[in-house]
């Protein structure tokens, strides 16, 4: 019997893995400041895992979340407490913490059965605030808002103590998450999610159990946010409630919007693009501008960031992945492109 995945093109996995392995070597070959670039890439990798989870929830299932910084924070703090205070090995925390975060996802998912759209956005936003308050209130373990020092990740006796080692740890998970998420989204589960997004009534009429699949979407999304949180806490080695604010949740939404809602590749492209833009491109542009104009106020950074979001949403609603798809179709049809189709 033919396998469910027999028709899927899997040839992209090997080049993707090779590319991911090659990137740090390329960067080290080009610049002495490779550790700085790897640090930024590590953040991008962690956010990619979270953005893939958010895309499953918001892009595929159509359930908006403005509280993902909350899941992320719970993942980070839970792992920090489990590993450094309860003495659980990091490897075990990589399994336990995402599941714990997943259960928080289920709790938040319950209101999603009743509310939708902007109201769900507000509910999840409320969860983000509650998560932060909870972390501050549990001072005995989390040191409140003073921030918490976290140990390095140790896996099979190997300590990941540098940006270089962290890169391979983080991107192993990024590749695994992307591969698994794409498979799941191409399966019955993914189709049920998309059916719910397109029309809840039609989905229900077609036999999709709304309660089950909505909760599953929340669970999966929170599991990935929890995994991202574990990696974040142990590779950044310091976590503070200052980081997990509402702006971070909005930042994640922007990532999937810019990347292209409803596609795993879009979430990857979006998160890498936004992190590189925020950490590297805009500061570099600002430094370059400073050569010509005396910039006293650094708000130019937020201005450029906002402008790019604005232009993307107006001119490229399908995001970066949409641009890629258009380019692919363009070259497939070249030179017989219908006029004005790809402008």
């Amino acid at each position: 019997m033919k396998s469910r995945y027999a028709d899927e093109n899997l040839s992209w996995i090997a080049p993707l893995v090779l590319l991911v392995i090659a990137i740090p070597f390329l960067i080290r070959g080009v610049t002495f400041s490779y550790r700085y670039y790897l640090y930024v890439l590590n953040i991008a990798g962690i956010y990619t895992i979270l953005a893939v989870g958010l895309d499953i929830l918001s892009g595929y299932t159509g359930l908006i979340s403005l509280g993902h910084a909350g899941f992320f924070a719970i993942g980070a703090y839970t792992s920090a407490v489990l590993v450094d205070q309860a003495g659980i090995p990091f490897g075990l925390s990589l399994i336990i913490t995402p599941i714990i975060t997943g259960f928080f996802g289920l709790v938040v998912g319950f209101p999603a059965l009743r509310v939708s759209g902007m109201y769900l956005g507000l509910t999840t936003m409320g969860f983000g605030f509650i998560a932060r308050r909870l972390i501050i209130a549990l001072r005995a373990w989390t040191e409140g808002s003073a921030g918490l020092e976290v140990s390095n990740p140790v896996l099979f006796g190997f300590e990941f103590a540098s940006d270089w080692a962290n890169y391979f740890l983080i991107f192993t998970f990024v590749v695994a998450v992307v591969v698994v998420a794409r498979r799941v989204m191409n399966s019955k589960i993914g189709r049920a999610f998309m059916a719910i997004r397109d029309s809840e009534r039609a989905a229900e009429a077609a036999g999709v159990n709304l309660t089950r699949y909505k909760l599953l979407a929340f669970f999966m999304s929170a599991v990935l946010a929890g995994l991202a949180g574990v990696l974040f806490a142990h590779t950044m080695r310091f976590i503070s409630t200052d980081h997990f604010d509402i702006l971070l949740s909005i930042y994640f939404i922007i990532m999937i919007l810019v990347g292209g809602v409803g596609s795993i590749y879009g979430a990857v492209l979006g998160s890498v693009f936004i992190v590189l833009l925020d950490f590297l491109l805009i500061p570099a542009f600002k430094d370059w501008m400073a050569l010509f104009v005396a910039i006293e106020v650094a708000d130019i950074q937020s201005l450029i960031f906002g402008l790019i979001m604005f232009l993307f949403i107006i001119f490229q609603p399908m995001g970066l992945y949409g641009v890629w798809l258009k380019m692919r179709i363009y070259w497939k049809l070249f030179p017989f492109n219908p006029k004005k189709r790809f402008t």
Binding site: S33, Y36, I43, S145, A146, G147, T241, D242, E296, A298
Partner: protein, 390 residues
């Protein structure tokens, strides 16, 4: 023949050793010392992020104008962290790897500074005068402590001293505190807890969220609790609103403030409701008679900057620049990061032209100052009303 060979070999070895010069220290050339500053230029504390480096540059330019430190001019590179700990780490890595700075100076904010600890350890690079008064900065149980030289008296110590002051004034005082529910407030509460234990009392605690603009609930609770002395752990807006709210409720306790409430805008904003407000400060005022303050005013006026910029935070940048310059001066001509650390550890009651109560460090001491002076608002001007209190 043998002797000739030995002589030749000795000469060769000598030549080799002579050629193998010392590895150059990053950020230090014959004519320049490059230092890295990470400020909040576009986040919630951007006003301070602009005022602080301006004050620092006033002093650096003054020193550069006098020929620099051992012939080297100081140049400061500023990065923006937007009060985001992760961006602070990225900025620090950029400054070390791309700009090749010699040391960090005056990174603003407690959580950004805390987040930098692993980076300081990784590159073995000192951070001089972090722009936060959190007592955790000089905590030796934390990672990378030996690279951080904190100048200011911690919030915990300040709160402790203010409770003592309240009891000196009134043996039957009932003390309350309004604190920001974040890392700043946590450090204030640490000091309050120590004072509670020492005096065998319970201080009434009222929290508020960062960015809050309504304090009616907290003030009402303090009024109901009958507190006679209220310590405000806020910045600029909070003490103004708290004092105005209390006045509207005809509630007139003695208000006491932690050092971030020292800004003269508090005096201006609070008006007559702010009369008598007493603040703990870890240094002399910018308009005092201390030699350092006089020099600051002179350099500021000559710089042609908008007079509105002059004030506590601008002066804070100036004062901490004096600490760094003194450390670099003491580290000598052959400047390395290890030498700067050793030189800083040699500070003993150094008062920076009368501005500080006396900064001391040691091989296991990174606290800087441990005293405060009390400053009262009298008729719209800030006046020092005490000696240095420990």
């Amino acid at each position: 023949m043998k002797i000739r060979n030995i002589i030749l070999l000795t000469l060769l070895v000598a030549l080799f050793l002579g050629c193998a010069g010392r590895e150059p220290t990053p950020g230090v050339t014959d004519s320049e010392i490059l230092i890295g500053n990470i400020q909040d230029l576009s986040g919630p504390m951007k006003e301070l992020g602009m005022a602080l480096p301006h004050g620092s540059n006033l002093y650096f330019n003054y020193i550069n104008g006098k020929g620099g430190i051992h012939g080297r001019k100081i140049k400061m590179v500023i990065e923006d962290h937007q009060y985001n700990p992760q961006k602070a780490v990225a900025a620090a890595k950029k400054l070390v790897e791309q700009n090749q700075v010699f040391c960090f100076y005056q990174v603003i904010g407690t959580s950004p500074c805390e987040a930098l600890r692993p980076t300081l350890e990784e590159y073995e690079i000192p951070l001089i005068a972090p722009a936060t008064q959190s007592g955790t900065m000089s905590d030796r149980s934390r990672r990378g402590w030996k690279y951080i030289f904190h100048t200011d008296t911690g919030y915990d110590k300040q709160a402790n001293i203010l409770v003592d002051y309240a009891y000196e004034q009134n043996g039957d005082a009932k003390v309350g505190v309004i604190y920001q529910d974040d890392d700043y407030g946590a450090n204030v509460l640490k000091g309050i807890a120590e004072a509670e234990e020492r005096h065998g009392i319970t201080v009434q605690k009222e929290a508020y969220q960062r960015g809050a603009t309504d304090f009616a609930g907290q003030v009402m609770n303090l009024l109901k609790g009958g507190t006679t002395h209220v310590i405000i752990g806020g910045v600029v807006r909070e003490p103004i609103i708290v004092m105005k709210t209390a006045a509207a409720m005809s509630y007139a306790p003695q208000f006491l403030g932690i050092s971030p409430t020292m800004d003269h805008r508090v005096v201006l904003g609070a008006g007559k409701e702010g009369e008598g407000f007493i603040v703990a400060n870890f240094a002399q005022l910018y308009n005092s008679d201390a030699e350092g303050a006089k020099l600051y005013r002179e350099l500021f006026e000559n710089s042609g900057t908008d007079p509105k910029v002059m004030g506590m935070y601008n002066f804070y940048g100036f004062m901490t620049a004096m600490v760094l310059v003194e450390g670099l001066e003491r580290a000598g001509k052959r400047l390395t990061r290890a030498r700067l650390i050793r030189a800083m550890e040699g500070f003993k009651n150094w008062d920076g032209m009368g501005v500080f109560p006396g900064i001391s460090y040691g091989p296991s001491d990174r606290a800087g100052t441990e005293s405060v002076v009390l400053v009262a608002n009298r008729g719209g001007t800030q006046q020092i009303i005490s000696d240095w209190i420990e």
